[in-house]
């Protein structure tokens, strides 16, 4: 038989290809021992060492009155943030494979296939996001240590939010990878982007919710408050915290909205650049 054999419909080809590319990302991630070790050791460090170590200090004296800043232990408080941290690292790491694929080969194999650029990018992002959600879920296994009671509903709600976060962050990773020509630049980038983004997202400390806007700006330096308020990750972590321990500093719908919008915008931007390249 000559030619392309049995013809499949265009949609089926795209879907089949999407599945293939997604599966590739997931398989690769499971075979990368370094990444798995990072995914496991990072939450243990943050929850077990940092969390337990700082637990007793997580209260403050505000206007002469000693109280817990939020009605939770520090462990409970950072637990959702550590999930976000794991997702953040893994999502951005999948950007490394974007560079690798682009510079040496594999991307070319895909570019000369009948798949559209949109399918190729979506397969990559969904694959990276899936791996990131899996790494995020590893943290859930530590729930007992952190005194967080999980119910199925909480877990499902968290998984939904984690997926949105992972999709947006993986798209962000791809956008950044599009502008990086070499791996050397990547280390600088991950230090310059990941950690500042994480530390200013009310992940490791809350801006005291009992204070008014004006009081907050008296207690904390103005620039820090502004950074926290402008950081989209703040709202994502807040939504996740709401789902897991029932504590919200902002309207939880805001987190969903911000993650949804940034996911769409970042993916569209990544696609625009990928099509042009």
């Amino acid at each position: 038989m000559k030619g392309s054999g049995i013809e499949r419909s265009v949609l089926m080809v795209q879907l089949g290809g999407l599945y293939g590319l997604w599966l590739r990302e997931v398989k690769r991630a499971f075979r990368d021992r370094g990444q798995l070790i990072g995914g496991i050791s990072r939450p243990i460090l943050w929850v077990v060492i940092l969390g337990i170590g700082l637990n007793p200090y997580f209260r403050g004296e505000v206007f002469g009155k000693v109280n817990f800043v939020v009605p939770f232990t520090y462990l409970q408080f950072i637990f959702p943030a550590v999930i976000a941290l794991n997702i953040l690292f893994t999502s951005v790491q999948s950007a490394v494979s974007v560079i690798w694929d682009r510079e040496f080969g594999f991307l070319r194999e895909v570019l000369v296939s009948p798949l559209s650029r949109g399918t190729i990018l979506l397969g990559k992002v969904l694959g990276g996001a899936t791996v990131a959600v899996m790494h995020g879920s590893l943290v859930l296994l530590l729930a007992k240590f952190a005194d967080v009671n999980l119910t199925w509903i909480k877990v499902l709600e968290a998984l939904g939010l984690m997926s949105m976060l992972a999709f947006a962050l993986t798209s962000l990773g791809v956008v950044i990878a599009n502008h990086i020509r070499s791996f050397q630049g990547f280390g600088i980038f991950s230090n310059a982007v990941i950690l500042p983004l994480y530390f200013t997202s009310s992940s490791v400390f809350p801006l005291d919710p009992a204070l008014s806007q004006a009081q907050t700006r008296v207690v904390y330096p103005e620039w820090l408050v502004t950074m926290v308020e402008w950081n989209p990750l703040t709202y994502a972590i807040d939504a996740l915290r709401g789902a897991l321990i029932g504590f919200n500093q902002f309207d939880p719908r805001l987190g969903i909205l911000i993650m949804g919008i940034s996911g769409i915008v970042l993916f569209a931007l990544a696609l625009f650049e990928f099509r042009r390249a």
């Binding site: 030619g3 392309s4 293939g20 490394v96 194999e109």
Partner: protein, 331 residues
């Protein structure tokens, strides 16, 4: 719909030009490759071979001109063109963390080959390139020759009619190169496909039906290897005359063919018919005679010159080296 399918040329380039900044990589190149031929594109590094491959494989748009594969305009209908092309790039494009089988299966999925056909073709092609025993091994563990064979097999999973091979034997040892060519010829014979292959190894071209010599983005010569030798390679007749008289007679008579002369030997420019008639007429005058048949190498060097072209490592190479030594979570 494919436009204007002409049965004969399977690959056709019409006045294709491509410029990178100030260098003209392809300068109005026209080319035709007939059905079921093994067509070699021969040229030194930087001649424009890879650029041509990238244009044919729809990765690169030419600045001007047209390119067709199987009658399909690669710029207008890239998706249709891609279904008919099997491509092996110069640099390996396998996923080396997946197994041999997984790489082939992924390719099948991407090209929309249904599951049962996929399974059947993977088995067939693995047998063809003799990698059946390696099906479950990670690609990382394969030698570079095996990777190349795997890539050739992969390019055929979607039953492509045309195989584009960009330097398939570069960096391989002589035995492996020989084996790769063995597969290429077998494929062409058994599966009736057309093969366009680039190379800078001259000796490999002898096996091909057609050769096109390109350099600096221009086609210098195009034809069957034998025809090229006839056209560009000068056949020489090396004669040792019996006596000094014979020597001077021959020199006098064939003055216009004289290539080189010393006390004992005369070298004449020749061709097949001249050699015969010379021998018939002057058989009695000569002690020894040898015919020096031109090699493709001499043709190639005549056409492209003898300069060796070096280039500094570019960004890609630097990055690759960095990756190889394990920099920044690579691979």
């Amino acid at each position: 719909m494919p436009s204007a399918v002409n049965s004969s040329p399977v690959i056709r380039l019409e006045e294709v030009s491509k410029r990178y900044g100030r260098t003209l990589a392809l300068d109005a190149v026209s080319l035709e490759v007939g059905e079921q031929q093994i067509f070699a594109l021969l040229g030194p590094n930087g001649a424009g071979k890879t650029t041509m491959m990238h244009i044919l494989s729809t990765l690169l748009r030419p600045d001007s001109g047209k390119a067709f594969v199987a009658g399909i305009d690669v710029m207008r209908q890239p998706l249709q063109a891609r279904r008919r092309l099997g491509i092996v790039f110069q640099e390996p494009s396998l996923d080396d963390r997946l197994s041999v089988h997984e790489n082939l299966d992924l390719h099948g999925l991407i090209f929309g080959v249904p599951r049962t056909l996929r399974r059947q073709r993977i088995e067939e092609l693995l047998a063809l390139v003799e990698l059946t025993d390696w099906a479950d091994k990670t690609v990382r563990t394969l030698s570079s020759g095996m990777k190349r064979r795997l890539e050739i097999a992969r390019a055929l999973i979607h039953n492509s009619e045309i195989l584009l091979l960009d330097e398939p034997t570069v960096g391989l040892d002589a035995q492996t190169r020989d084996r790769i060519w063995h597969y290429i010829r077998r494929l062409q014979a058994e599966r009736a496909i057309t093969v366009l292959v680039t190379t800078h190894y001259i000796e490999e071209v002898e096996n091909c039906d057609q050769v096109c010599v390109i350099d600096n983005g221009k086609v210098l010569a195009d034809g069957a290897p034998k025809a090229l030798k006839r056209q560009f390679g000068q056949q020489l007749l090396r004669i040792v005359p019996k006596t000094e008289l014979d020597h001077s007679e021959i020199v006098k008579r064939y003055a216009e063919r004289l290539n080189q002369v010393d006390k004992t030997e005369i070298i004449l420019a020749s061709d097949d018919t001249f050699s015969e008639s010379f021998l018939a007429e002057n058989g009695a005058r000569i002690k020894a005679l040898s015919i020096e048949v031109p090699s493709l190498e001499s043709v190639f060097l005549t056409l492209t010159g003898r300069d060796i072209r070096d280039a500094a490592a570019d960004q890609r190479e630097q990055t690759k080296t960095f990756g190889k030594i394990g920099g920044e979570h690579t691979k």
